[in-house]
């Protein structure tokens, strides 16, 4: 892709730092976080491994016999993929609109995005519950328009989960695309116009190629975060729509099978990390975020 001023700055900064950096310096600056990672990230993961092998590794076979687990696994992956695709599409519209609208609309969209980013995920999910309850706000609104006079059956259904999940994840897709759009060279857009390219051609050749990497890194992040999502699916999906996280919680707190819970956790962590690391190497996700 094109080299933005920021990456140039990063490169020059790291080059000169290399000249001035010393071994003592990195020992003092990098070792404390590394030790912390080993303790706070390494120890729990090792503990999960030990727990999952407490029954001699049979937990890994047994977990697929737990009635709810295979369905939850499929549901979680499908849900994460759908949420990823929809946030990418709507996020692109949203980012384009923020960068290309008149001021009043731009400020409204930005305010909505920041409000959503800053308020608690749980609070936002509560709002969706109140909206979707059989006689909740959505029913009130439809009733007001004379469209429906019997209670809704939307709450705690699979379809009912999606709008809330998309709303929760949307900022993570929009923000990288916004910063990509911010760094587009406006002279390129003007040049395309001067040379007679129409709107579609300008978009396809100038704007689109620069959004794509940001869109992918936002999408990867949304996918990975959705895999481990707990609170929103719990509140809006209900007991019939358990995600992997919900099944893990049930194994530990209700079924009293910590070995199964640990094996499922290993699968979830392993899968998530694998997806993240592959995407990171392919699309340089981390660099987009740093």
């Amino acid at each position: 892709m094109t080299t933005t001023p920021v990456t140039v700055a990063v490169r020059t900064a790291s080059r000169s730092a290399r000249a001035a950096g010393s071994a003592t310096e990195s020992r003092w600056l990098l070792w404390p976080p590394l030790v912390f990672f080993a303790l706070a990230l390494g120890a729990p993961l090792v503990m999960l491994l030990i727990q999952s092998f407490e029954t001699g590794g049979s937990a890994y076979m047994e977990m697929f016999d737990v009635a709810a687990f295979p369905a939850a696994l499929v549901r979680t992956v499908v849900m994460a993929a759908v949420v990823m695709l929809l946030t990418m599409v709507f996020g692109a519209f949203y980012a384009l609109a923020i960068m290309g609208s008149p001021l009043w609309l731009r400020l409204t969209l930005l305010a909505a995005l920041l409000l959503s980013l800053w308020t608690s995920v749980m609070v936002r999910s509560f709002g969706w519950v109140l909206l979707e309850l059989p006689k909740g706000a959505l029913y009130w609104f439809l009733n007001l328009l004379g469209l429906r006079d019997e209670p809704l059956d939307f709450y705690q259904t699979t379809i009912g989960m999606y709008p809330a999940m998309i709303a929760v994840m949307l900022p993570f897709a929009v923000l990288p695309m916004m910063s990509a759009l911010q760094s587009i060279d406006h002279e390129q857009l003007n040049a395309a116009r001067v040379f007679g390219a129409g709107e579609l051609l300008t978009f396809r050749t100038v704007t689109w190629p620069q959004i794509i990497p940001a869109m992918i890194s936002g999408g990867v992040l949304v996918f990975v975060m959705s895999l481990g999502f707990y609170v929103t699916p719990l509140l809006l999906g209900g007991p019939s729509n358990l995600t992997v996280s919900g099944v893990i919680n049930a194994q530990i707190n209700q079924a009293n099978r910590p070995d199964l819970g640990a094996a499922m956790s290993i699968l979830l962590v392993g899968g998530t990390m694998l997806v993240y690391l592959i995407a990171d190497r392919l699309f340089k996700v981390s660099e987009k975020w740093g």
Partner: protein
């Protein structure tokens, strides 16, 4: 007046703006509904709310349980944020001193990976550590350390954005004048990173304050952080008390985080840097 990007989209910007406006309803409407249910005069959740009263806010603010949870959350979140800030800043600065490009990439990935860590799996692992080590049982140590790990990437990402903007000639200049690295860090780098450190810190605080899954597993019996109390309350029944508490938490977050753009705007006004491009909503410190 349209922006350059707006002009380049031509007529298509109207349908795009329309779809975005509809999408923004997804973000705003549930929140407004939640807030409005909290000012009801009745004792049940209802939409539209009956009448207007602030009784449920008074209820929450004078309730020992709610306030106790609030104070506990404040304490634990502050400690985790402090740990995450120190380590995140050290990491963001330290990573630029690493010689090999490949090591740098792996370190960067490691610092960001906790964002992708499924909270429940992490909580189960921490719970295992907690219950196998006697001296941790009944304490808040593992909760605070766990929250610090979750908050660390946010500090790291935001401060890294600042590190990239430090004038690269300052370090060699200070070094030739005889300053050693701790002095350079303290006198040159940290002051110019300060706004980034502050916004990273606030972000980390908000993230940790909101985290509930770790609290489900790691809090000693009898203790409840605010989000945990809210989750429990929601599983019993939705009450105006719960929505009032939710509104208060959100207001707090909005007020705290509104400090960032305001202070940034004030700083920008003082400096008036000519290269700042007008007409672009710039989210300093959110994503770089």
């Amino acid at each position: 007046m349209a922006t350059t990007i707006g002009r380049s989209l031509g007529w298509y910007r109207w349908p795009i703006a329309f779809i975005a406006a509809l999408t923004s309803l997804l973000l705003i409407v549930p929140f407004l509904i939640l807030v409005s249910t909290s000012w009801t005069e009745g004792s049940f959740i209802n939409f539209p709310p009956e009448g207007f009263s602030l009784q449920w806010y008074a209820e929450v603010l004078t309730d020992k349980g709610w306030m106790g949870s609030f104070v506990l959350s404040l304490w634990t979140a502050s400690l985790s944020t402090a740990i995450a800030t120190v380590l995140g800043v050290a990491g963001a600065v330290g990573i630029t001193r690493v010689k090999s490009r490949a090591t740098q990439r792996w370190l960067r990935t490691m610092f960001i990976v906790p964002i992708a860590l499924p909270p429940i799996a992490y909580a189960v692992g921490l719970y295992g550590v907690n219950s196998s080590l006697d001296f941790l049982r009944g304490t808040l140590v593992s909760l605070i350390l766990g929250h610090a790990l979750i908050a660390l990437p946010y500090v790291f990402v935001i401060v890294s954005g600042g590190v990239a903007r430090i004038d690269p000639s300052l370090r060699p200049a200070a070094a030739t004048l005889g300053a050693r690295w701790p002095l350079i860090l303290w006198k040159v780098e940290l002051p110019s990173l300060l706004p980034y450190v502050l916004s990273g810190m606030l972000f980390a605080f908000i993230v940790v304050f909101d985290e509930v899954v770790l609290a489900v597993f790691l809090l000693p019996p009898g203790m409840q952080t605010l989000p945990l109390r809210m989750l429990h309350a929601s599983q019993e029944a939705f009450s105006p008390e719960l929505t009032a508490a939710s509104t208060l938490v959100s207001l707090l977050a909005i007020v705290v985080l509104a400090i960032i753009p305001l202070t940034n705007a004030a700083r920008a006004r003082r400096r008036r840097r000519p290269r700042a491009r007008p007409n672009q909503p710039h989210l300093e410190g959110v994503v770089e």
